[in-house]
């Protein structure tokens, strides 16, 4: 059974490889994105040394590493699931001898590994020539960062799966998916690190799962979160990974009873 899932992952990886030319333009565009925020933050710092507990150099590294991390954890599982539900493909999937969500998840992982190897890693290298990025010197930080990145992927995929499954309950969840994308980018700390938010908003965002996707790994990478706190931020990620399983399994059970196919 595990072999079948691994094959799904491998096949998605190979499919992505077939269209890899798209990704070269992608790296350029991500570099341009990093550029916007680099210049914006430079202007915001305006020569000051630190703002909200981050130095200007840390901010540059944070912007670069969080965008490149986004390339890895980002996927369209929500769209794929919603599409399957809308055109009825999910009915066929349900009678197949594997768990539909697990299959989707493994495909997402195949895509993520592809993006990590062909997008994030070379992208980070290219970006580091353009902008003054400081890499952590301690190999332990690198290892922890990679582990945290895996959890980012898990949590973001779970959020995507949950959003996609709502297509069972509302006929068209396009708007919801767009809102989710906006929420993840803003609340995860990709656009603004959490420490820049006003106090009450920061407190609120810290009880939501989004910070575990971007802010926590980015902060560990740039040294904003020191080594003594690594265990606790990892615990936050593990906590959300486990907790998000509950609504997913619940929605999945409720949804299968509600399944009706719109044409197709």
């Amino acid at each position: 059974m595990i072999g079948a899932y691994l094959d799904m992952m491998r096949i998605r990886f190979l499919m992505m490889l077939a269209y890899r030319t798209n990704y070269y333009s992608g790296i350029v565009v991500y570099a341009l994105n990093i550029g916007t925020y680099y210049f914006l933050w430079q202007a915001i710092y305006g020569g000051r040394e630190t703002l909200a507990g981050m130095t200007a150099e840390q901010m540059t590294s944070y912007v670069a590493v969080t965008w490149m991390a986004r390339a890895f954890y980002f996927n369209n599982l929500d769209r794929e699931i919603a599409q399957d539900i809308r055109d009825g493909g999910v009915a066929v999937q349900l009678i197949r001898p594997y768990h539909y969500l697990m299959a989707k998840f493994m495909q997402g992982l195949g895509e993520g590994i592809f993006r990590l190897l062909l997008f994030s890693a070379p992208g980070m290298l290219i970006v580091s020539f353009i902008f003054p990025i400081q890499f952590p010197k301690d190999p332990v930080i690198w290892a922890v960062f990679l582990l945290m990145l895996l959890f980012s992927f898990l949590i973001n995929s779970q959020i995507n799966i949950l959003t996609g499954l709502f297509a069972f309950f509302v006929e068209n969840n396009e708007g919801m998916m767009r809102m989710k994308r906006v929420a993840v980018d803003l609340f995860s700390g990709l656009i603004i690190p959490l420490s820049f938010f006003p106090g009450w908003a920061e407190v609120l965002l810290k009880v939501l799962p989004f910070q575990a996707v971007t802010y926590l790994p980015g902060s560990v990478f740039t040294g904003k979160i020191g080594p003594e706190l690594i265990a606790s931020v990892l615990a936050v990620q593990v906590f959300w990974t486990l907790l998000l399983l509950v609504p997913i399994l619940w929605v999945w059970r409720a949804a299968r009873r509600r399944l009706f196919v719109q044409g197709g």
């Binding site: 269209y19 030319t21 798209n22 333009s25 992608g26 565009v29 341009l32 994105n33 550029g35 916007t36 210049f39 914006l40 430079q42 202007a43 915001i44 710092y45 305006g46 703002l51 909200a52 509302v170 006929e171 068209n172 396009e174 708007g175 919801m176 767009r178 809102m179 906006v182 929420a183 980018d185 803003l186 656009i191 603004i192 820049f196 938010f197 006003p198």
Partner: protein, 261 residues
């Protein structure tokens, strides 16, 4: 006349689909607005930590953003080409478009019309109006006319750039993800160009003129003394880029050979 009647018919059709999925319309409007709200939030949060961005105050940056929302909403309403490659090239729907009497691009634009985006323009106008009231900026009787011309220019710039990008899929076989990727570049135009280095400033002004969809037109009202001449070029730049877009599109259509399916 012919296109006007087509437009009303498509609008009626749009209303009918909207009535089927009623809640969807509002969710779409809200999600559009949330997206814009996120960008406004960025500005508000950032200005808690600084007094000015390259010499521009909070109200001025909000003003620029409000202006940006107006052409952006109109552009999204009429040039909704996001799924163009997948739907029209890969699935071959372009064949259907080409057999019809209306000009193919007009047909496409009407078919994908998205009036819900216009709410974004309305909110943008309100945001701009609010920022205007906060600023000590003179209001001349011809300002509304200039504003309309600027918005037209900005919409044409957007249109021209995205039509060119969509037309690329006539030439390349692989479905390119360039459109959604480009989407982020327009971020550059929403902030005072003074914050960027020289290369990017030149790029934003003359190559991918996103500075003309937000910053320059706004600067006409905020700091006319410095930016009047470049800002007034907006409609001209719009006409040029729209023409280029149409040209690339038309040669793309001639190059089109249909999908294999």
């Amino acid at each position: 006349m012919f296109y006007l009647s087509l437009m009303t018919d498509y609008l009626k059709n749009y209303m009918k689909t909207r009535l089927t999925y009623r809640s969807d319309f509002w969710i779409e409007v809200i999600s559009d607005l949330t997206f814009n709200l996120m960008n406004l939030l960025f500005i508000l949060v950032v200005f808690r930590h600084t007094a000015a961005l390259a010499g521009w105050s909070e109200a001025e940056v909000v003003f620029i953003y409000g202006y940006f929302m107006i052409p952006y909403g109109i552009f999204n309403c009429f040039f909704n080409l996001w799924g163009f490659t997948e739907r029209y090239i890969v699935k071959g729907e372009m064949d259907r478009i080409l057999t019809r009497p209306a000009y193919n691009l007009a047909q496409l634009s009407l078919e994908n019309m998205d009036p819900s985006s216009l709410f974004g323009s309305l909110v943008g106008a309100a945001v701009m109006g609010y920022a205007w009231s906060q600023l000590d900026v003179a209001f001349a009787w011809y300002d509304p006319i200039v504003l309309v011309l600027m918005v037209l220019g900005s919409v044409m710039i957007y249109g021209g750039i995205y039509i060119s990008l969509a037309a690329l899929s006539f030439f390349s076989d692989a479905p390119t993800g360039i459109l959604p990727l480009m989407w982020n570049i327009q971020n550059y135009g929403r902030y005072p160009v003074g914050i960027y280095n020289k290369v990017i400033r030149l790029l934003l002004t003359w190559v991918l003129p996103f500075a003309f969809v937000g910053f320059y037109p706004s600067a006409y009202f905020l700091d006319g003394a410095h930016y009047r001449s470049i800002a007034l070029a907006t409609p001209l730049v719009g006409a040029v880029f729209f023409t280029i877009g149409l040209f690339i599109w038309n040669s793309g259509v001639r190059h089109y050979r249909g999908a294999g399916s």
